[in-house]
Symmetry: D2
Subunit: 303 residues, 4 copies
């Protein structure tokens, strides 16, 4: 889930409520707050804690909520996890600390100590492009033995790594292995993976739920068709603008055009300018997510 | 296909013939010579040309033969392609030049000029871990318009890249997109990709043919089981030894133990020592590819 | 300056006072707090603010104090800069945000906005190994025009980059360009650079002051001898242990053995174990910084 | 030295002779053929061998000639070294094989075996940007013990690495350590390093000889002034065009405009177009290396 913001330093509470309902209406099986798409590392702590409390209250147990607690400051990870636990979240998720890149033995120590002290189960979050270090397969295997470590979200996009983790933990059906990039969600669930954490589900939640269900049902033709639809969305909405920020800017701009929440970004970053915004609007119309006249309910992913 | 060597600088002609028959007996749909697993950049040109001539003669049209012509020297790529054409090969394959990393416009120029002058259709070969540069999706799309560029072999392992290429060329069923890493072959063929180029097929060709056929038949359960078998083989045979070379050393050592060809490596590299060799032997026994007593025909991948 | 800690989450106030006096007694021309060696990104904010207040009070204007405000959270950078200004610091220093790697135009925007809003002059901090992005030379040149941007600390170790920045700003003697790695401090000051920010000055401040002064005096022989002494210290103290953390662990362990401050580290990291500590002790004796019997004042860098 | 080419696949023999005389007239202490600036990996072997023979004959013992034999094919390295020895070259230079990145123990084995079999002393060539692996300091130290390994050319630009090598081998004045990037030549020779291998010396050999001599004479002011001149040349000539190739294209274009040799490039690469060429011309005029009217002898680096 993206983090709806009123401005760069304040939560958009009403937008958050609308986004939660929009996504739950699409049938998702859980929510992941404060990941990379959630801009977590750039958000003030007050915003992070408020987001966790508001979303958990809004969800009210309808689906499990996972909360990203990735931080360079160990105590802040624990503090956010306390809020998550007190608010009724189901688990927390942590990428490695992202300034000093730890060695693999340091990663084992870090995660073991974190898991020892957390009030909720922990998911490992592999995100080498941002944190500079990959959680190596043997490290994942060793940490999977910890009673309070429940799974792995892999956002490396490295399919050999993902499948090696799945193979190494093939006797641990209780250990969830989730695919980050939505471009590969269908095929890995078809192969037996636990699920995915697609950022595009902020906009089109039903599309990804349908894809997941088709994959669980081993309906290959439907998986192919829906995954192609996912690629179509990605090709239209995520490549506007430049730099690493084009994905989150694209998603927030689309949600803003759909009337769900504003497009403010954390930190000093600016939302899309008028030209980029017009491009996203045109593409949402093409996707059937906006009618040509402003207003009008978005039909089910453009059917 | 690995390149069987008598010693670091001479082809093992008898071993080459045995390997070709072993792999064809497994039912493979084609052969790829002189790729990364074939140690091409470290092989003397005389060996490369002899390999192409011998394999094409041995295959005698039973399956198409693809020949890697990746080189830093443009003229040598053309010369090897001439030998490939004269020998009856079906196509050539080229990764970007691997000393000076070209920019994307330079890649377009390089491949277009190469394709203009080649006597055979060209496959692009994406191999960023070795050549430092990825053939960007728009570059692939632009080059796919060239009449003499027939497909892409992607060995990046980056599943977002692979699927983005497939999506971008979804209206070009004639443009083959092949998965390099065998760890991901099953799922991408299940999703409609053209096929794979699995190095492990040197040892267990039938396993990969069965996997391919199960994927084409959309038999999800069988794909899952066979892909798990592939991961099992990989976990036992490719991680012995150290460094980048453990994969090719493992494959050559296994083939040597199976009586197919020797384990000499190109350049100054040494094959596995006795301890590593004993480990590979034990694991081949575990895989059912060797009987416990030396000798005895390998059963069909350990059934 | 390292950050002396009582334990992973609390400042060692007495140790901080001793370290400040130790370093000032060595004659340094300024202090840099909360850089990479200061473990800033892993420190609780309360510790960062307390450190700034205590050090500025202790220094009491004897030398300028520079304060690292690098953060992923824009508002926290400003807040820490407010504390720095209120405490009498001379300037602040900021590396790029270190989770989402900005593009160069985004870096220009980020730094310009930060500099607009800071109560103190800003030094750019180039640290690509940790933050994944380098502040490109043209970006430095453009930002150097901002009235509130005063200099650059370059910790890339890339001498071509460092010298290109110096050349591009050769007409701006007011724009300070400081070398991070102590292994190169002597030579760049000899060539006219403004100075260095050597982490080893925590232990041997006089050594680096002497080196700086010899370089300013263009005393080539003395620069060579002192720089060799710096390399000798580095070879003995910074390579114990493993991983990226060996430098800061080595410095803190040495300071602890010298009776200056404890060796606790930020976050969940552990100080050196007994064996590594014994090794550092033996090497400090070899360097003349510890007498063989525990106790005894360290002689001037081992003369 | 660049490799003058008549076209992408043939040596420009007359241009080669002129370039040798131009560079020797500048007073250089040696020549390095077939390095990165020499485009070696992209050159046909016939051209490489011919270049070595012609240059050695032309030099006729006036200065030592070093010959790059970097290759992925071990036997070709030996063959080129034979030609070098037979032609009277003084030493050969080899970067690590550049397709399969070796581990450090593999590097030790590779270089030791190469040095055992070479007819000439060997210089190690550290060039991680092209070959993906750095020759680690302990590897250099170990290899420096080999009787036939005579030195190191470091083109990493990493000043901490360079100085760590120098420190580790401070008791081996016979082991030459040469700086690749010309942006740092002056300062390291001032500090006692053996010398540099500046690509810009193709155009302005005297400038670099003067810089070297000023550094050996410990004339700091003169080193500063000449190094600034080097940076000025670099800023004007090496940044035209795009991609990694802008350096070699700039140097060859300048030599062509100065009437020394043509600007053809190895492989399928194109020289600068008319616009880029005009820019280089204007800058050579600015540098005083060309008179405004075409023709006229270039004055001593623009004095």
């Amino acid at each position: 889930m993206v983090t709806p913001l009123a401005d760069s330093g304040r939560l958009d509470a009403a937008g958050t409520a609308r986004l939660v309902e929009h996504v739950l209406a699409g049938g998702v099986h859980g929510l992941f707050l404060l990941g990379t798409t959630g801009e977590a590392p750039d958000l003030p702590y007050a915003v992070r804690h408020e987001l966790v409390r508001r979303v958990c209250a809004q969800v009210a147990g309808r689906v499990p909520v996972l909360v990203g607690v990735t931080d360079t400051m160990y105590d802040e990870s624990l503090r956010l996890a306390e809020t998550a636990a007190a608010s009724g979240a189901a688990a927390v998720v942590a990428a490695p600390p992202y300034y000093f890149a730890p060695g693999q033995p340091e990663l084992v120590e870090y995660y073991a100590r974190l898991a020892d002290n957390l009030p909720l189960p922990l998911f490992l979050y592999n995100m080498p492009s941002q944190v500079k270090v990959s959680i190596a397969v043997p490290t994942v295997v060793e940490l999977a033995r910890h009673a309070n470590i429940a799974g792995l979200k892999d956002s490396s996009g490295n399919i050999g790594y993902f499948n090696a983790c799945r193979y190494a933990l093939r006797d641990r059906p209780d250990f969830a292995i989730l695919m980050g990039p939505e471009e590969a969600m269908g095929e890995v669930v078809l192969m037996g993976a636990s699920g995915g954490v697609p950022g595009g589900a902020n906009i089109f939640p039903r599309l990804f739920v349908d894809l997941y269900e088709a994959a669980v049902a081993k309906d290959v033709d439907r998986v192919r068709a829906l995954q192609e639809r996912v690629m179509h969305v990605a090709s239209l909405l995520y490549g506007v603008g430049h730099h690493n920020s084009s994905f989150v800017k694209g998603v927030k701009c689309a949600l803003s055009l759909m009337g769900i929440c504003g497009d403010a970004l954390a930190g000093p970053r600016e939302p899309f300018n008028a030209a980029d915004r017009a491009l996203i609007r045109a593409r949402l119309v093409e996707l059937g997510a906006l009618s040509n006249e402003k207003g009008g309910a978005p039909p089910r992913y453009g059917a």
